[in-house]
Structure formats: C-alpha cells, structure tokens
Symmetry: none
Subunit: 78 residues, 2 copies
DNA sequence: GCGGATTTGTACGTATGTATG
DNA sequence: GCATACATACGTACAAATCCG
C-alpha cells in the first residue's frame, strides 16, 4: 500500500505499485484495468491522486486511457 | 509573459496581464475565461499563483468565479 | 430506442508542506 | 516573521461519452 509518511509523493508510490501489477500480468489485455474510483477505494487515496498516477503510467507508455471507456494496458508494439 | 527577475510579484504581474486581456475584449462575455490549469500552463506558473492573480481580479471587480464552472468576465453593471 | 449507471474529463475550493528572500 | 511560489493532496460538482439492462 501507499505510505503516507514516505517522502515519496503518494501519486508516485501509487504509479509504481500499479506498474508492478501491470508487469506481473495481473490485468488481462483488451479489458480495462480497475476504474479510477475503484483504485481510489482500494488504496484509500483521492481520485486526483489516482489520476496523477495514471498520468505517469501513460507517460511511461504502460497504459492508454480512453474517455468513458477506461484505461487499458498498452499493446505491445506490433 | 511574466518576468521571474522582476521585483513585482508574479501573481501581480499575471493579474495585470490578464486584466489587459480582459479589457481588450479578448474574452467574450457569458463564457468562462481560460481555466486555472490552462493559465498555469500558458504562463508557466503554479496554480497557486494563478489563483492569487484571479483573487486580485475579483477584488478589482473584473471577474466573477463560480465553483466547478469557471471564471467569467464581470457583467457591466445594468 | 430509452434511461440509468459507469467512467473519464474538467473545474474550482481548500489545506498542508517546503523553500526562498 | 511574513509574503511569495511551488508541489502535493484532499474534496465537491458537473459534463460528456459509453455501456448495459
């Protein structure tokens, strides 16, 4: 879980945790990963923090987000 | 743009720049002016600085701000 | 096709912590 | 000490697109 007391920003911790889960293959392709409200509940952080973490993952090329659809694990380049 | 080296506080410089844009008629009435995050990006300052500048403009009676809606050029008094 | 639920996008309000001059 | 400026993090509200019964 995220650590409130850590000097590392929560959204960075969260991004790293999610990255590990993505790389573990926990989330099947072609299906959205858990929604922002779901992650929010799961980790006990605000939606803004979840969105900041997902933004990092997008910047890392790990996920793609589609409005009103969800966020998906990025396709391995064809 | 704002000048980091100026002895004038950034938020005051920003308020003056926005005031000039408002008075030029750049922002049509009944539509929100650019959002805080937008201005933040545009001028390369923090959201806190944007908010401080907008607070000044509200105090000058130039704009009105509505939560979750946006900031609008103040109506000319009827 | 309709309507409600879901999901992401956007916007402002607020608080706290850090750093600088 | 105070003002300025930044980053982080919470909350609330609403819009727009999509999904599903």
């Amino acid at each position: 879980m995220v650590d409130e007391m850590s000097p590392i920003a929560l959204y960075i911790q969260l991004a790293n945790l999610l990255e590990a889960r993505i790389k573990s293959g926990e989330f099947p392709p072609r299906k959205p990963i858990p929604s922002e409200p779901h992650i929010q509940q799961e980790y006990g952080v605000s939606r803004g923090t979840v969105r900041a973490a997902l933004r990092l993952l997008r910047e890392r090329g790990l996920v793609v987000t589609m409005p009103a659809r969800g966020t998906y694990v990025a396709e391995k380049k064809a």
